[in-house]
């Protein structure tokens, strides 16, 4: 144990002394946060103003009503919905009394139920504003959803399910549809504000660089010849590896904590429950550290190790939404979700939305699973540096 601490302390002292861990672990990510935040800031500065939408809906068409109701769920700015006749709707826009007209045709619900194309007419006012675009994209989201259920209907007919039941299914699918809002559905940042996503993403990305200062030291020890001497010391060889892991872990936890703390102060982001955030940080650092063990086994030289580390950091960082939120569905989405950095930012999204320890089970499981997987792989791959 004493030897473990001797090695860990000596490594930490050297890392502090050569300062690169400060630069790559703290200074660069903080600088990037500031730079990127400027670009986010400029879109945020646009104050969204209320708009009025005139709609015409066929009486008694439940699916059409759902479509319109979605507009009421936009909470970024108020949307006033006026129900009028089909002719009136367009006229109001032309008269400047409304910014958007939506005319849902007769038989819309029926068409969707039967899987036929249903067209919704839209008229935008002159000088259409960003708010109009938002309202449009909300409705587009609902329409996409409805046509998804239309596909269900078609497929069902071919496989011979009773027509009546399908109608019910289509309606059900449309009404249980999740609340549509603009920040929803991105793989990495469920409830993070743009600044929050930036801080979390950069912290996650640079974590993958910071942990390298510990474990990848194994490659450096091999290169600078000290590994031979360490192995001649009266201690188990596993202790050398354990000390490097501990160095990675300590550096990772410290750097991530500093980044999240400083980031949340400067960009006015709250990540929520400190206990839950702490658990997320501990798990994310474990996952990142385990990855370094694989690199340390495979790389012959420190240079190779650094290249491999940069590639992994960028791939996982980008896939985890370090630079922009990345959304994907289906298999790709599920693969993205297994990325520990994505799990980390998603977990922070949950905590910043008010979630506590009980709510972060999924991201924690992903990160710990990744840590175990990484360690197992690093045991299995042949150690290219074993012969010194």
């Amino acid at each position: 144990m004493r030897q473990l601490w001797t090695m860990t302390a000596s490594d930490l002292r050297q890392r502090v002394r050569d300062r690169s861990v400060f630069i790559f672990g703290l200074v660069v990510p903080l600088a990037l946060m500031f730079v990127f935040n400027l670009t986010i800031g400029s879109t945020n500065d646009v104050a969204l103003t209320p708009i009025t939408v005139s709609v015409s809906v066929p009486a008694g068409d439940q699916l059409a009503a759902t479509l319109v109701a979605a507009l009421g769920q936009v909470d970024a700015f108020p949307i006033t919905v006026d129900e009028v006749s089909a002719d009136e709707a367009g006229a109001r826009v032309r008269a400047g009394k409304a910014q958007l007209a939506v005319v849902v045709p007769d038989g819309f619900g029926e068409a969707v139920r039967q899987g036929r194309p249903a067209v919704v007419d839209v008229t935008e006012g002159n000088g259409s504003k960003i708010e109009t675009q938002i309202a449009l994209s909300v409705m587009q989201g609902v329409l996409d959803h409805l046509s998804a259920s239309a596909v269900v209907v078609n497929a069902g007919v071919r496989s011979g399910v009773a027509q009546a039941r399908l109608g019910a299914l289509a309606e059900q699918a449309a009404t249980v549809m999740p609340t549509v809002n603009l920040t929803e559905g991105k793989a990495s940042s469920e409830q993070l504000s743009p600044s929050g996503a930036l801080v979390a993403g950069q912290a996650g990305l640079f974590l993958l660089f910071t942990v390298g200062f510990g474990v990848l030291g194994l490659v450096a020890e091999r290169e600078q010849g000290t590994m031979a001497r360490l192995r001649s010391m009266p201690m188990r060889p596993g202790l050398i590896v354990a000390a490097k892991g501990l160095v990675s872990y300590i550096l990772g936890v410290v750097a991530t904590t500093v980044l999240l703390t400083v980031g949340s102060r400067f960009f006015d982001v709250s990540f929520g429950s400190p206990a839950a955030v702490a658990v997320l940080v501990l798990c994310a650092v474990a996952a990142a550290t385990s990855l370094m063990f694989i690199i340390a086994r495979v790389a012959r030289t420190a240079e190779q190790a650094n290249v491999a580390q940069s590639i992994l950091a960028l791939v996982l960082g980008v896939a985890g939404g370090a630079f922009f939120p990345l959304g994907a569905t289906g298999l790709a989405g599920r693969v993205l979700d297994l990325n520990p950095i994505a799990a980390f930012t998603r977990g922070l999204g949950i905590t910043s939305g008010g979630g506590g320890l009980a709510d972060i089970g999924a991201p924690v499981a992903i990160m710990l699973g990744f840590a175990v997987f990484g360690l197992a792989v690093s045991r299995l791959v042949p150690d290219r540096g074993r012969d010194l």
Binding site: T6, S10, G225, R231, S232, P234, P237
Partner: protein, 309 residues
């Protein structure tokens, strides 16, 4: 102190160490002399427990040695061929770090560090980061770390490679002092003079095998114990060769234009008679050279190759 039996270590198709066996007694300095690539470092890496042998065993002070053995490693101090020091740390910090890993602490550690710094003449640079050291200073520190915990067996792998003559001499002197102090030493080198000067017994190693082993004198008798005298000159060279063949001390004479190479018993004693006889036969001598066999010629004799490439 050390017993190595039948060590074998392969790298792919290459057998870097091929059945090496030897032992070192307490207080003895044992040399492994061989050219680059002979298998010295690989042998030492097995003995110090850095890498496993594919077969064979090593015991140090009666305890089995291997990569996962802890007890046997307490008895050894390793000075690797490649520098093994941390460039960011000072000399004192390097010593303290490895001293702690050896289980030393507190006052005894500090006192011992001072002693070693003194021994390797780095006391006045103890606080400087080693990346600012000259090659010779790094080499000295490299050795200092190996003997810090006063091991019973000190293993030095080519400690003088790439060192200026002055530092080299200092290193050789300190090794002599250490073995005089009762430490057993395993010393590898491709410099025959170092092996001759330092080692009680020497193994000549080539292609992963020990070709011969013994004291310097024992090894030299392997060549037959004969010396050479080389004569260069003008005049009656053929006649001189014939006359010289008649001398008792002369075993063989080879004539090659202006050069006569004589194989003789005890050249210093025979040289006067050789010169008189050659001159009397009508040869005008230019140069006379005595060549006595050394480990170099032993190596040549055993392997058909020169020690240095």
């Amino acid at each position: 102190m050390l017993v190595a039996s039948d060590l074998v270590r392969r790298y792919g198709d290459l057998t870097a160490v091929d059945g090496v066996s030897f032992h070192i007694d307490p207080g003895e300095t044992y040399g492994l002399l061989g050219p680059n690539g002979a298998g010295k470092t690989t042998t030492i890496s097995i003995i110090a427990g850095l890498i496993p042998a594919h077969s064979g065993t090593v015991t140090v002070a009666g305890q089995p040695m291997g990569p996962r053995e802890v007890d046997a490693k307490r008895s050894i101090g390793l000075v690797p061929q490649d520098l093994a020091i941390y460039p960011e740390l000072s000399a004192r910090e390097n010593l303290a770090f490895f001293g702690r890993l050896q289980g030393m602490r507190g006052k005894p550690l500090t006192r011992r560090i001072d002693e070693v710094l003194d021994l390797i003449a780095l006391s006045d640079r103890a606080k400087d980061a080693t990346k600012e050291f000259s090659g010779g200073m790094k080499r000295r520190l490299n050795i200092g770390i190996g003997l810090l915990h006063a091991p019973t067996l000190l293993i030095l792998d080519e400690p003088t490679v790439g060192v200026d003559p002055q530092s080299r001499n200092a290193i050789l002197e300190s090794v002599e002092a250490l073995s005089g102090g009762g430490m057993a030493v395993l010393y590898t080198t491709h410099y025959m003079e170092e092996a001759e000067r330092l080692c009680d017994r020497i193994a000549i190693i080539d292609s992963g095998r020990i070709q011969a082993e013994g004291t310097r004198g024992e090894l030299i008798t392997l060549t037959g114990g004969l010396d050479y005298i080389r004569l260069t000159g003008e005049g009656q060279i053929e006649a001189a060769a014939t006359a010289l063949r008649g001398l008792d001390a002369v075993v063989q004479v080879v004539a090659d234009r202006r050069l006569l190479t004589l194989t003789v018993r005890d050249a210093p004693a025979a040289v006067a008679g050789v010169v008189t006889t050659a001159t009397a036969a009508g040869m005008t001598l230019g140069e006379v050279e005595i060549v006595r066999p050394d480990l170099e010629s032993v190596f040549l004799h055993l392997t058909g190759k020169a020690l240095r490439d």
